[in-house]
Symmetry: D2
């Protein structure tokens, strides 16, 4: 960490600052220039509050040199983390597709889709039981009943499931769930993240609408600091002025995250664009750019879907997407990133 | 609601659509143009899922004419809602200032600040006990103990308190809290909102980093639909490319929200800018533009604050801000907005 | 175009509006609902000013059904436009790579790079002579002299060139330039666009930092309406809150633009990310997603580049990028988009 | 300027870097920490290309301590710049209102509005002759003829004028124009800025849709470096995800700019919001927050305006706005900003 002081700092305040830094087990190197003094801190600065430093009247600016995340940091864990989900390996060179409906609507619906997406190449079944909806008047999901239907369908089809949790109080219902999803709106629901850090379930953590990559990794750090290192990151689009798509899918995040962290990274092209016809091109781009997998919304009758039908594709289209993705996998850009 | 159909829609699908709309108790008026047919829907469309309509292959676009929120809608409730917080009235022409530290750090700290801000003109004491921090390694607040200190200090100073809740499970500790704050990161924590809708406490709901005004009102609607109509809205800055300030405080939201809703609206210039010297100018602008109040971070020793010191002002500066705000109140822009 | 009227519109104003619309050769269909009247306009609404309509006190909202661009519209020109640049075909299924330095620095530099990028697979040489720089104190390009060096190098290497114009007054120097580039900062320099519409040179039009796709096409329309239909669009990243990269490359724009327009679309992964190591992954993603080509910054000594060295790659790296791109071309997602 | 090196930098490259920095007349102070070496540069770094430094393989990060602008810098010119426009003083504590129509439409229209806005308190007449319009099919302004009408009306009314230039080639027509406006779309039309730097006319420079404050000041620097120090800055809204308003007016820019620069700063609440009813509240907020003036669109028949009618107010409403603004001027927040 580097602290740039204002010109001619008060010497008493400067001594107080240096003493406080030493008390944090940090070694301070100072470089006296003509205008500004620069303090270089050596040691573990992860817990140093840059805000507090910036608040001091003698400080002009503070800049981190070390990343503020540790468990998630690629530097601390050179090789890719591989997460085993009921025999399905995520990360480390494999490519897994999670597919299924936005909402679970009935036993028939989820069973039919499960069989179809498995046949087409999906390895994990997705489906929403607890649904975060902007409007309190919109369908909120079948909740516990939906979870039961999802698990039954997945066991019949022989594939693990991923589904979203919205609150700590729902955790007891997730005992048979294989991967617990934290949605974009809950990426900084820190109490939920801490609680999930105490479980041993794989967690799929979606990037918030306006989260930087460092913030995403800090949220992963909340889970990992609690002891649960099984975190899968998911890019699902950010909010920008560009409203031709529902969100702007930030594909450069994939190679950047691979450099920053050892955790697996998947892409959700359905929510990331909100437009059915963009799912295939964005899925291909995600595969080629080096993602570890995809999450895709598939519905047997998109026009009758209880939510997000506009971005759902049919099992037939999904089979085509999955095939084309498989075709490009040998050309994936997975080499070492400087 | 208006549905624009694609040219030459399939007649069978069109009949199915019309029937489905009638089943929702909506009357359909259609206007046949040369290229596009337009369906106009009459009735309560609040619960109609525009996504589902957009997913239909015969539909080109869907546009709401009615707002999707009801309880929060100014049209349904012409006069300003006034919320009584222990005798302090928020909304309807008054102007209230909530002030206090980002974090409660000790009994002495919060008591000293409480007395100081009250003397300077604050009517409600703020202070964080449960703290949402980006890093799991940063100070997370004194939690239950902090709440006790806050309430004790407020009772001694004779003013009500507002403080943030982060999870449903913390609700039992909030029994003596006067106003429960929902932070920007939890604006779409829908399970928490529903639970707060079952209480009878005033709720201060902060706008999310990337929330539109309609989304903010839909979150208020979650609380109100549960029966709790005491919602105070808070503009606290949005995330944009403009990084000279921590967030971009969107002051046009104040007159726009006053037109859209009858709920009181306050501004947080401390978080909204993240810069101490901007608190006063943005506070004055918020007052003149018609806000119902302010939330300001005040710390007796900003340079030693355990969080967000960079944006905290001293009690002396706060006294000056409060005085200048009072001076401009007679000139507030509160007239009817078309 | 659809005009939604406010409830109970003044009848005299409504008649005046209808008459005015008829005078514009538009047929008006009205649909009377219970709350709102909706007017549907049939005819060419390209020149109708939606702002003027929205300003009327009886109008609640105006929505275009037809796109406001004509010459650039895919509906008016179903097949892909193919632009011939000195024998190099851009659009219609081919894939062309434009490569070269950010700035032309000397005859040796540009000649050496020209030979290298041609050998590696580039078909068009790029290089900046007139340089838009944020600071007046930064290197502004070799200007006319740079253009001469560029053209000499390109003729020796046997490949056409693309280079940026910054002002109408520079046009005389561009006589031997094969493709004239309009930079992001000039995307809405309408006088320049009109002037370029009077030339018969191919124009490479870069998307502005904060331009929507419709605005990009309206700028293309400025050139095309003047008679020059040879416009190549270029996605080069938009400005968002996400500052891990210099810009956020919006790859979903490629399939969306292909649906909206018949013009060729290329991607600039160098400016789009500003980070050298992201050029290859973003180049591969651009190819697979259906772009018509790439524009890449290549410098023989990136560390000594006079500008944008951080995003320039060496000829050796470029050769690898070009080879990997060729490998994935058979898998491009170019099928018909609904 | 501070250069943070990567751990264990190549010593030969480091020596080369230090030599190059010395050759730029910069003194280098280095501080050797355990992990990273930090170089502190002393001297005039305005012309140092941070991009070139970042491109070096031994460099991890570069951070400016000095601002990259000189002429516009408050540090170089402590007192407010005051610009005299035909006797009207802009900056330094006065408050001036520029008002008039978006487009000049006829002699009658502009004359009538000129008289009305002057009577209501405007000191400078605005009116567009050369109009930047998104669509080539929209009205492009009366151009030279419009300028003549504008100047005639202003002379009759006895007030100076401000009007927009779109291209260098139009400069000869601006001889009798008092203030030349550079629109948001041309904020980085550097050739135009340089040319305006060679004139001695006051220039009103609008902030680009996605420009940072430093970029705005660098554009002012282009004009000032050419010798013309008469630059007036104008905040007119930035582009964000928040689409309830056409742009998001960034009022925190006013106090921030006052700290960064000595140039006068005005606000355009008409373009900044795009909504008529927001002009008054945003005008009042702009005045109270310390702006040096306003630019407001006024039209005698907003519903018949040839452009931007939705944001134009009538002369009657303008008179009310101007009066309310005058009332709050004594309470302006103009004190010294730390």
């Amino acid at each position: 960490m580097i602290i740039v002081l204002k010109p001619n700092p008060d010497q008493k305040q400067l001594e107080a600052l240096k003493k406080w830094l030493s008390d944090q087990n940090l070694t301070v190197h100072d470089s006296l220039g003509v205008n500004n003094t620069v303090l270089g801190l050596v040691g573990d600065t992860t817990a140093v509050d840059t805000e507090m430093l910036r608040a001091m009247s003698i400080v002009q600016d503070v800049q981190r040199v070390q990343e503020p995340y540790k468990c998630a940091n690629r530097k601390m864990h050179q090789t890719d983390t591989v997460i085993d989900v009921g025999g399905v390996k995520i990360g480390g060179g494999s490519f897994q597709i999670m597919a299924g409906p936005c909402s679970i609507e009935s036993e028939e619906q989820i069973s039919e889709i499960a069989v179809a997406v498995k046949a087409a190449g999906a390895s994990i079944l997705r489906g929403g039981a607890f649904k975060p909806r902007t409007s309190p008047y919109a369908f909120q999901g079948l909740r516990e009943k939906g979870l039961e239907m999802l698990i039954k369908a997945s066991r019949q089809a022989g594939m693990p499931v991923v589904t979203e949790i919205m609150d700590i109080s729902q955790l007891p219902y997730f005992e048979d769930v294989d991967v617990i999803q934290v949605g974009a709106r809950n990426m900084q629901n820190f109490e939920l993240l801490k609680e999930l850090g105490r479980t041993d379930k794989p967690i799929l953590l979606k990037r918030g609408f306006s989260a930087t990559l460092t913030e995403l990794l800090m949220s992963a750090e909340y889970i990992m600091a609690g002891g649960n290192e099984k975190v899968i990151l998911c890019e699902r689009g950010i909010r920008t002025f560009a409203t031709d798509t529902r969100n702007t899918l930030d594909l450069s995040a994939i190679p950047l995250l691979r450099r920053m962290t050892h955790l697996p990274i998947i892409v959700d092209p359905s929510h990331g664009t909100g437009i059915r016809s963009l799912v295939k091109p964005m899925a291909l781009a995600s595969a080629i750019i080096g993602a570890d997998g995809l999450m895709v919304e598939v519905h047997n009758h998109p026009e009758k879907a209880w939510c997000d039908g506009q971005q759902s594709i049919t099992p037939e289209t999904f089979a085509d997407v999955a095939k084309c993705v498989r075709d490009v996998l040998p050309y994936r850009c997975r080499e070492e990133i400087e």
